[in-house]
Amino acid sequence: MVVSLWKYRRLILYNSVGDLRNRYRGSVAGYLWNVFVPLAQIIVFSTIFAALMGWDLPDIRGVKIKSGLSYVVFLCSGLLPWNTFADTLMRGVSSLVGNAGYLKKLPLPEQLFVAQDACSGFLSGLLAVAIFLVFSIAVAGYGPYWEWIQILPGMILLSSFAFGLGLALSCINVFFRDVQPLTQVVVLLWFWLTPVVYMESHFDKPGKEWMLSLLAFNPMYHFVKIFHEGVFMHGWVPAHTWIICGLATAAVNGLAHAVLWRLRADIRDAL
């Protein structure tokens, strides 16, 4: 699955970079929108949560963030990677159907288009996180830290996870177009089942421990944990988190491979 993509590495890279450029093509600001949109998001969060609602987090493990902005830093550190995941997944699900024009005419491997979406999702996600880091240093007075380097493997792993899941669903979506709206609903539910806007310590109360133990089965919990631990807490992410995320990525990609292998002969007939 990955081997056949290697031949098209240039195409993937070129098209995903081109995607960043083309997404806002025709606008006056052009590719600057790639910077403005995440920046605006962060500013909106800061305005609402810090200035209006006055949400703040108690100091945890000696994290020192400019008063009032700690929640925004926490939120962004988890939300931006989540958005990357959700964006990649949703685009991946509709990828095969959306690229039917190519698939019906060119002998390109099916996974190429999902890989392209994952790659461009990864790049724009990385850009958003980078902007957030600049905000964190400049506005919140937080960082930089060496531990932030973990963002890179974290994002790669997360994108690979989204790629696998997106590919498997995309194949099924060719036959049942219900998969795409269904995924949208599931991702929304999944979002609230994952501690992104709230902290997992919410469950750390008597009578709610079962929710905490249930969280362990949510792969996204572990992925978000990489960013909470690595960025917000500026600590080294525990090895078992990396291992769980790695296994989850391998599992969904194995699944995607099996699904693709099984449905391959029929996919282009049904497009």
Partner: protein, 449 residues
């Protein structure tokens, strides 16, 4: 022996047609035990081989499976059964500008297409000047292709695909979009590629091009191979099937695609003897051994359902001597003898003259001329005598004859395209110019002012 580049064996493609989207879900959930689809056979047991340097044509009406076959060969679709093997790299011009990005310039699209085809950048950069020169679209090459005309797009697409040195090159109808000049250029390029060892697969509705360029042709009809062999025969069969009323006809070609086995020399002699003894001098003299041999030896462009078949044909002058060279003033006699195999209530016999450009100059049939149809009885001989008055202009012509149904079904029992050759010499007074002489009177008068 040139190596075989493409080998297709028992290739079959069936599409599953679901009436409802839920049908597939039920099938999946039941593990395949509940069948909720209909099968549509797009290709049924297709077999052929293509040798290196061969120009192979595929013809057939819309929906006959041509595109499906090409898609399988380019590995876009998967065959349901059978197998195919292609030795070397296939490049296809399946759809005009697939993979083109309208926002990018021609030059950028060349690079982009190359990426789609999996080529490395350096190779494309090396071939780029050649491609641009061939496309010949001037300064447009540096403009976004959304400003291109469809002709320019084909030029660009053809240039790219034909310059990446494929082993097997698939060309389809896209080519017909270009102007005459470029189409010519494309065929020249295809010829070059062929001499360089490239094998070409050409799908077209342009039957003249198929006849002109292809070495071999496959005629597909509703997913079946109806004919495989000479392009002239294939296109003739196709034209016949597509003629009004001919669509529903089931021509029943034998396994090798031929309608009738070639008669042996003995059979011909036996026929002539039979004719002479049965019809005595009268017919026997009209249809000599040469007249029979001409028809028996004519196997290339002959089609029909076989209710009756032509056994002898003779073209002669007013003096009764066989000839093919006539002057402008000569009357031409065409004698035709056919053997009736099955009873036919209404039939007719036709004659047609085609010039060297492939244009039908004139044609008629017995029904048109007399307003009457002929009843054919099985086991009888059917004789026709056409007398052509002078009128054909100087030049070379071929003669087509045929026997067919006149009840409106349009079936052709036997048609021989180009069975005889005619030459009209310009000698003698010529009172006209152009293709044919139309009886004309001309009077002049002048009046005082």
């Amino acid at each position: 022996m040139t190596p075989v580049k493409v080998e297709v064996a028992h290739l079959t493609k069936r599409f599953k047609i679901y009436r409802r989207a839920s049908g597939r879900l039920i099938e999946w959930l039941s593990g395949g035990s509940a069948v909720r689809h209909d099968l549509f056979t797009a290709l049924d047991d297709i077999n052929f081989t293509m040798q290196q340097g061969e120009f192979f044509g595929i013809i057939g009406p819309n929906g006959s499976g041509k595109s499906t076959l090409l898609k399988i060969l380019t590995r876009v679709l998967w065959p349901t059964a059978g197998r195919f093997h292609i030795d070397g790299r296939v490049t296809s011009l399946l759809e005009l500008g697939t993979g083109f990005n309208p926002e990018l310039t021609g030059r950028e699209n060349i690079v982009n297409s190359a990426r789609f085809l999996g080529f490395d950048e350096a190779y494309i950069q090396r071939r780029m000047p050649e491609m641009i020169a061939f496309a010949d679209i001037g300064h447009y090459v540096d403009q976004p292709i959304k400003y291109y005309s469809s002709g320019m797009l084909v030029r660009l697409a053809f240039s790219i695909f034909s310059h990446v040195e494929p082993d097997v090159f698939i060309v389809d109808e896209a080519l017909s979009v270009g102007d005459v000049y470029f189409t010519q250029k494309c065929f020249q390029r295809l010829d070059q590629m062929r001499s360089a060892g490239c094998t070409l697969l050409f799908v077209s509705h342009d039957l003249t091009a198929v006849r002109k360029y292809c070495d071999k042709a496959l005629y597909l009809h509703e997913g079946h191979c109806r004919f495989l062999g000479s392009p002239v025969e294939a296109t003739d069969l196709y034209l016949e099937a597509m003629s009004p009323g001919g669509v529903a006809r089931q021509l029943a070609p034998q396994s090798d695609g031929r309608l009738r086995p070639d008669p042996t020399a003995e059979q011909i002699r036996a026929r002539v003897t039979a004719l002479r003894t049965r019809f005595g001098r009268e017919l026997g003299e009209k249809f000599d051994e040469a007249a029979c041999a001409r028809v028996a030896g004519f196997t290339s462009a002959r089609i029909g359902t076989g209710q009756a078949h032509v056994v002898a044909l003779r073209v002669c002058g007013a003096d009764g001597h066989s000839r093919e060279c006539f002057s402008l003033r000569d009357v031409i006699h065409v004698h035709l003898l056919a053997e009736v195999v099955a009873d036919v209530a209404k039939s007719t016999v036709s004659l047609q003259v085609t010039n060297h450009m492939g244009i039908v100059v004139w044609g008629t049939n017995h029904e048109r001329l007399t307003g009457q149809t002929v009843t054919l009885r099985a086991g009888t001989w059917f004789y026709t005598h056409f007398v052509l008055q002078p009128g054909l202009g100087p030049g070379e012509y071929t003669v087509d004859v045929g026997l067919g149904d006149a009840s409106g079904e349009g079936h052709v029992f036997d048609r021989l395209t180009g069975i005889a050759r005619l030459e009209i010499t310009p000698e003698g007074a010529r009172d006209f110019m152009g293709l044919a002489r139309i009886p004309c009177e001309c009077t002049v008068a002048s009046y005082p002012a």
